[in-house]
Subunit: 102 residues, 2 copies
């Protein structure tokens, strides 16, 4: 196997998943679209600032999409994209290994 | 699901896998026990200093074991433990996702 070819895409994916709270945010969104406050409610230890930062990163990477509904008051929900949904088995496998071995 | 319980073990596992070169080192060792120089040969872009650091971290976490054979000259090989071998499907799933989506 040519290991040098494995490197960049693996590293980027692993770096993304290794960021504090990111896996947890994705897990919460696997339940379905959520508002900022709903995500926050599920992960109370995370600050608003960090959640905002992580959501921005995930949006930039097209792992989540931000939907704005023009209601009154305006409703904003975050939703996993196909790319984000595809992380489900990846996060599960990290979680399974972590539970057994860490 | 209680997300707060997911947190620490997932985070530790994901943090480990997200460290630059770590996934690659484990992949190389999945081929079987290797000497320091053999690992280095497979990952030429990584410095000796970083490889030493990563190997120490992986040894501390009992992901790898360092075997010393009292030959002349002494032979030292690094080998995945059961815990390390169990990372194979985890790394594969990150790799598969990364290749498709990153």
């Amino acid at each position: 196997m040519d290991y040098s070819r494995m490197c960049p895409k693996y590293e980027h994916a692993a770096e993304l998943l290794g960021k504090k709270w990111t896996g947890l945010i994705i897990r919460v969104l696997l339940d379905g679209p959520k508002r900022f406050k709903e995500i926050k409610f599920q992960i109370p230890d995370m600050s608003d600032r960090i959640l905002t930062e992580r959501m921005k990163e995930l949006e930039d990477l097209e792992v989540i999409v931000r939907n704005v509904y023009p209601e009154k008051p305006v409703r904003i929900e975050y939703e996993l994209t196909e790319k984000g949904l595809a992380l489900e088995p990846v996060i599960s496998s990290i979680q399974t290994w972590g539970e057994k071995w860490m």
